[in-house]
């Protein structure tokens, strides 16, 4: 399963020129609002006719402006989940769910109603009308509706952006289940929230001003110092995988990463499971000597791989920690005063670390 796309499109005040490939798993398109993410997803879904370009899914040409090919949206077999759930107001939840089922390709395989209801926890909602649902419930129904049309790929355009924190937490586990579950449906996921992407994506594409600035496996792009200004200095930071070793009686859990063990509070995952850790660059402090008498116990020996000066007074430092890569953000002055250079060995102190609550289990 793969999507490959190259398109250029001109709006009155903005030009888009994008080439990207999306394989299995979740491919996230990240960018500020106005960067062109939604244009890309609309072009894939067939809601926008690009000025020029070519889009193929699994080798089937959906758009080729040179050859005058434009497959209409209803023949693309791509499920779309929009930011506003767009449930049909005159139909019940069940009727919404099965709306697309009659159009699924003959002989297509995919979940049936009971699978989707179980996956998304919709049992209690089936007879309700969309107007009576909360935002999170609507989004779950919209997701189920898209799944039941048996798409080859799911397109998700900021599916969580209109939800508040708790509602987001309500949906995220379902998306993780979708990614890790037997459906194995590839997903093109548009978002401007780094935390969502850090938790969900397998592949990350950074878009700015209508152009792809970086693309690759999530762990690589997130730990690329060049990506710091694209993600935002406060949001940038490496994502690494850790195994949960033990939960202490004091609420502190021990997690193992390739460079050593970390002690972290508030880890919900089961012992033995694998979780994603998000280590913000601004939460990683560097020390030339092994620090003593610190309140933080999470100190890792690291080696400096790259130093990337930013536009402002800061610099992004890429660190090798075991087989993982971390990012640290320090001031340009500190780089000079500490004499930081490539290949230098030092210590990284992790002030705070966010653990993705769900297990990523692969």
């Amino acid at each position: 399963m793969s999507l490959s796309l190259s398109l250029s499109h001109r709006f009155a005040d903005f030009a888009l020129d994008i080439t990207l490939d999306a394989g299995p798993g979740i491919t996230a398109l990240f960018g500020r609002s106005g960067a062109g993410k939604t244009t890309v997803i609309n072009a894939v879904g067939g809601l926008l006719r690009p000025d020029a370009g070519k889009i193929t899914v699994d080798g089937e040409v959906l758009v080729d402006t040179d050859r005058g090919i434009f497959v209409p949206p209803h023949k693309r077999r791509l499920g779309t989940v929009f930011q506003d759930a767009r449930l049909f107001p005159h139909l019940s939840v069940t009727q919404n769910l099965v709306f697309g089922a009659s159009y699924a390709a003959r002989g297509s395989t995919g979940p049936d109603l009971s699978d989707v209801v179980a996956l998304l926890g919709l049992e209690a909602l089936l007879d309700r009308a969309p107007a009576t649902l909360s935002g999170g419930q609507k989004q779950r129904v919209a997701l189920g509706r898209a799944l039941l049309s048996h798409p080859r790929m799911l397109l998700m355009d900021e599916p969580l952006a209109s939800l508040d924190g708790p509602r987001k937490q309500e949906i995220l586990p379902f998306l993780e289940r979708l990614r890790d579950g037997p459906l194995g449906l590839p997903i093109l996921y548009v978002s401007h929230a780094v935390d969502e992407i850090a938790r969900l994506a397998d592949t990350l594409v950074l878009i700015q001003n209508g152009r792809v600035q970086a693309q690759g496996p999530l762990f690589d792009v997130m730990s690329d110092p060049a990506a710091v200004p694209l993600l935002g200095v406060r949001e940038a930071g490496a994502v690494i995988e850790a195994d949960v070793l033990a939960h202490g009686s004091d609420g502190i859990s021990t997690l193992r990463i390739s460079a050593g063990d970390l002690e972290l509070p508030g880890v919900q995952a089961q012992i033995g499971s694998r979780v994603r850790l998000r280590v913000l660059a601004q939460d990683v402090i560097l020390s030339l000597t092994r620090p003593e008498g610190l309140s933080s116990v999470n100190v890792l020996p690291v080696e400096i791989e790259d130093i990337h000066p930013g536009d402002g007074p800061g610099a992004a430092i890429a660190l090798r920690a075991g087989s993982d890569r971390l990012l640290s953000r320090v001031t340009a002055r500190a780089v000079v005063e500490l004499g930081l250079s490539r290949g230098m060995k030092c210590y990284a102190i992790l002030k705070a670390t966010t653990v993705a609550p769900g297990s990523i289990g692969r």
Partner: protein
């Protein structure tokens, strides 16, 4: 004060003409309303003007234009008569006149309803694999039902009350082309006809009020279903 046979005839003919005019106009009005609401094409402004023309022209003028186009000596009228469809001075001509006069009102109501449907819902339906006809039948149509209903009632009321174009095009032949308004007008022309006129006025009021009430009940039911409350 009881209705005489002519009054009953006129009421029966008016209802017959109005029902036919409304039923025949609904699909065409819906199509035109959809074109005006959702499509961009060359001549859209012209079509819009043509649809609204009967609303702004004096009805007698519309009737006269119909007579010129479909009269028994006009080429079009003769061609239709050859296939057995006589319009001028026949009740079917009254249907045509009523259709044309009610058409702008129907299109207006339906167009507003279509414009109120969020195109994003139609996009969502297409993304689920529904071809355009199914999107219309399963999403657009149910959502605009109240508008169709409102347009239908207006078209029906206009057809019931149509006088100027009808009397010009199909004349005022009792039992054949004499509709309720024509009959009221005739009754008022003869001395001592006021009684029958009043009876028929009451008939017209009763029909109009029932139509509005029925539409209200239906609209409420549809609205409740759509909002899902």
């Amino acid at each position: 004060m009881t209705p005489d046979a002519a009054a009953w005839d006129a009421l029966r003919l008016s209802l017959w003409v109005a029902v036919w005019a409304t039923l025949l106009a609904i699909p065409l009005a819906l199509w035109v309303a959809w074109l005006l609401a959702r499509r961009d094409f060359w001549g859209k402004a012209l079509l819009n003007a043509a649809v609204h023309l009967p609303l702004v022209l004096p009805p007698v003028v519309t009737g006269y234009l119909l007579l010129i186009a479909f009269g028994r000596t006009a080429p079009l009228g003769r061609a239709l008569e050859a296939i057995g469809l006589q319009l001028a001075f026949h009740w079917s001509g009254a249907v045509l006149a009523a259709m044309i006069m009610g058409f702008p009102l129907m299109v207006r109501a339906m167009r507003l309803a279509i414009e109120a449907v969020d195109p994003k819902l139609e996009e969502a339906a297409a993304s689920l694999g529904a071809p355009r006809s199914a999107v219309f039948a399963r999403v657009t149509l149910p959502l605009i039902l109240p508008g169709i209903l409102a347009g239908t009632v207006m078209g029906f009321a206009k057809a019931m009350g149509e006088f100027g174009a009808t009397i010009t095009f199909v004349a005022n032949i009792p039992g054949q082309t004499q509709t309720l308004p024509s009959a009221i007008w005739s009754a008022l022309q003869i001395p001592g006809g006021e009684n029958q006129a009043v009876v028929m006025v009451l008939m017209a009021c009763a029909v109009a009020v029932s139509a509005v009430l029925l539409a209200e009940v239906l609209a409420r039911r549809v609205a409740a279903r759509i909002s899902g409350a």
